[in-house]
């Protein structure tokens, strides 16, 4: 066809082919490498060469539970058991709070079922003082960082001990001390802020790096793209994490990915080295995080990481996924479950067995139950044991201006 004829043809809009609903086939996960197959590039390897790996995947654990290949982070058995414990604690924590939602003690919750390895291994692979700019699915950063789970529960229950004084949505934790920037209700804003924090850390000659988080769906926001550009221009010491859990509420990942092959593809246009990593493989997450962190600490600039995983549950307690999700998606998911994957590895090493697993599981359930009982004793959003209405005016500004003092006095009356 020459240009003339092309001009005569009626244009037609492409709509992503998205079979959804319980009757649809579970979507395929593209480009899965075998464990150990993907090369481990030099920290300063040219971005063009790293871009050639955009359709590969960092994987360390093979189907038999053995660790293999150049990305094996060589963790000790104790480190592995710690990782397993972190992930299981996150899962038990989520389960207890979902139960609390069913019991009517909390009004909202978001779990990270199936995604535990990413935040847990990432946190352990960085320094405690590094700063995270999380989304609502990185509770593992706090838990693996040793933040008291009872404090998290106080926040979710919005009770009188809530460290955020009843102001934030449940699960939108903040802790400066534990390197956990406050979570934004509006998507993607934390990405630009994380890059800004990293630029400032470099500007002031600090040693801390930043780690910014986003879901694959939210990469459609302009903030994501602007963050990549700033990170690229100033070689900011930041890790740019994309958690690709296949879904953005009801929308499959291909809407946000467009015609690109992978989300790791987003890096090359900004000359940012990008890795694609099995997010359900604790060892792969740990190793890839160390690689990205070493680049940042060595003034080699930002790294983009696409963590491939699956959102196994509903988007939130307000969501009913049955209308849009194919049935059997979790069992069909080729990367398995992060806890089962690491458990199998420890068993293969002769460092774990079913009895110890069951005992740990019971211990964590008891720990979570005790923490919940303690938090619950401070009341809940439903029991009205919440912050004094007068506190509504605190922290609106650094100081309490006159007109707010007047309004506060009226509430007090």
């Amino acid at each position: 066809m020459d240009g003339e004829q092309v001009g005569q043809q009626a244009l037609r809009l492409h709509i992503p082919d998205t079979e959804r609903g319980p009757g649809a086939e579970p979507p395929e996960v593209r480009f899965i490498s075998a464990a150990g197959e993907m090369r481990r590039p030099e920290l300063d390897e040219p971005v063009e060469r790293i871009a050639l790996m955009r359709k590969q995947m960092v994987r360390v654990l093979d189907d038999d539970g053995a660790a293999t290949g150049p990305w094996d982070p060589q963790l000790t058995a104790d480190q592995l058991r710690t990782g397993l414990r972190d992930m299981m604690l996150v899962r038990a924590f989520d389960a207890r709070l979902l139960q609390a939602h069913r019991q009517g003690k909390i009004s909202f919750y978001m779990q990270c079922l199936g995604e535990e390895a990413i935040a847990c291994a990432h946190k352990r692979a960085l320094h405690p003082a590094d700063m995270h700019f999380p989304t609502y699915r990185q509770q593992g950063l706090l838990i693996a960082g040793g933040y008291p789970i009872v404090q998290m529960m106080n926040q979710v229950l919005s009770n009188e001990a809530d460290p955020l004084k009843g102001r934030q949505l449940p699960i939108m934790y903040s802790s400066k001390e534990y390197g956990f920037f406050t979570i934004s209700g509006n998507l993607a804003t934390q990405y630009v802020q994380g890059v800004g924090w990293a630029m400032a850390s470099a500007l002031s000659g600090d040693t801390r790096i930043a780690s910014a988080w986003i879901g694959e769906g939210a990469t459609a926001e302009s903030d994501f793209h602007a963050a990549l550009l700033f990170a690229s221009t100033y070689r900011a010491p930041v890790i740019l994490n994309i958690v690709n859990n296949q879904w953005a509420i009801s929308t499959p990942e291909d809407f946000a990915r467009g015609a690109s092959a992978t989300f790791a593809d987003r890096g090359f246009g900004y000359s940012i080295p990008a890795l694609r990593v099995d997010g359900n493989d604790y060892l792969a997450v740990y190793a890839a995080t160390r690689w990205a962190a070493a680049r940042a600490r060595g003034n080699l600039g930002p790294t983009l990481v696409e963590w491939v995983t699956l959102r196994r549950g509903a988007h939130s307690t307000s969501d009913d996924p049955s209308v849009y999700r194919p049935a059997g998606e979790a069992s069909h998911f080729p990367l398995g479950d992060p806890i089962a994957n690491l458990q199998r590895h420890l068993v293969t090493l002769g460092q774990w067995d079913d009895d110890r697993h069951a005992a740990l599981s019971n211990e964590l359930d008891a720990e979570v139950a005790a923490a919940f009982a303690e938090a619950d004793a401070h009341g809940s959003v439903k029991s009205g044991h919440t912050a004094d209405p007068r506190t509504m005016f605190d922290d609106v500004y650094a100081e309490l201006p006159r007109h707010l003092r007047e309004q506060r006095d009226q509430v007090g009356r």
Partner: protein, 342 residues
């Protein structure tokens, strides 16, 4: 047209919810005109996280009920681009707080394009969103930001208070040749009311006296207009006869209906859910004193939210959002004010 010409539901009309009235309007416009389509996050297969587009994709297919990636700027940009080609897009921003993510596209672009094109462009664009507090959705998912857009010439702002108005105002918004910001209140979605089956339009820019009264005028919109009716019933028991004016459209503002009422009652209170400082109530109050100063027996009263972000927890949020009791207190204060110097 005067307010009296606005069609009213017949007695005995079937009752449907506020959200069902919205969906019905969308479907009727789409059925009548192939140029009308919807686009936004989760509006297709899901039907919208507030179910505001339930069944639209099933009825009209993926080309006219378009799921988009999560980019509010691009969603409004899509709407603008489509509107200038002559289509009549309905683009959705889920939570009203997200209008700020797309504020440039709305305020600097959509609202000004016709003007900047020297009049050559037409923008029949409807931006739908769900605003308001009261569901424990916290500071970034609970705001009432309508005043910001009333401040921008070139865009119209609609905020209905009941199912009947939702349907008629939405039909008019889709047929409107200017960009319209159409705000639904998230706590009203399940409210039921009488709604005719057939298509009808309520012209933009017409307030309605939703309760006649003689002692004091109470002006509001959105959920606060519904709460004002509740407050008025309470006050009736105390012998205060309140006239409630539901603005329905904030921009353009039907100040005529308000002023006409104030000239009869001589007292007026404006109530809204957004923060009081710099709120749209200030504009209404200013226009009342400009046009009815000599008729006022008391300063124009205002009932609105305090000057802080919307808190999450119900214990705080219920103290924050004006409710019928606080509206009634505001009206009592206006009525109690003695006539001085007359």
């Amino acid at each position: 047209m005067s307010a009296a010409d606005v069609p009213l539901p017949d007695p005995g009309e079937r009752e449907i919810t506020y959200v069902a009235a919205f969906i019905e309007a969308v479907k009727l416009e789409m059925a009548a005109d192939p140029d009308v389509f919807i686009a936004g996050e989760d509006v297709g297969a899901h039907g919208g996280v507030f179910h505001t587009f339930d069944g639209v994709q099933t009825q009209f297919g993926e080309r006219r009920a378009v799921d988009t990636p999560i980019s509010e700027q691009a969603i409004i940009g899509l709407g603008i681009g489509a509107a200038v080609t002559g289509l009549r897009p309905i683009v959705d921003l889920m939570f009203m707080d997200f209008v700020l993510v797309a504020a440039d596209q709305i305020a600097n672009q959509a609202a000004k394009l016709k003007y900047m094109f020297g009049g050559q462009a037409k923008l029949p664009l409807t931006i739908t969103t769900v605003g308001g507090a009261g569901l424990s959705a916290a500071a970034q998912h609970s705001q009432s930001l309508e005043a910001l857009f009333c401040h921008i010439p070139g865009i119209k702002v609609v905020f209905p208070s009941n199912p009947y108005d939702v349907k008629g105002l939405m039909a008019a918004s889709v047929r409107e040749d200017n960009p319209v910001l159409f705000v639904l209140h998230k706590r009203m979605l399940g409210q039921r009311g009488a709604v005719p089956v057939e298509r009808y339009e309520i012209p933009l820019g017409q307030a309605r006296i939703s309760r006649p009264g003689s002692d004091v005028t109470l002006v509001s919109w959105g959920k606060t207009a519904a709460d004002s009716l509740v407050a008025a019933e309470q006050l009736a028991g105390e012998g205060i006869d309140v006239e409630v004016v539901d603005l329905r459209t904030l921009s353009p503002l039907d100040i005529g209906t308000v002023v006409e009422s104030v000239r009869r009652t001589n007292r007026v209170v404006v109530a809204h859910e957004a923060v009081r400082f710099g709120g749209f109530g200030a504009e209404v109050a200013a226009q009342i004193q400009e046009e009815a100063f000599d008729y006022l027996d008391a300063p124009v009263g205002r009932v609105a939210a305090p000057f802080s972000p919307v808190p999450f927890t119900p214990a705080l949020e219920t103290r924050y959002v004006p409710d019928p009791a606080r509206i009634a207190a505001g009206v009592r204060a206006a009525v109690a004010r003695p006539l001085l110097g007359r």
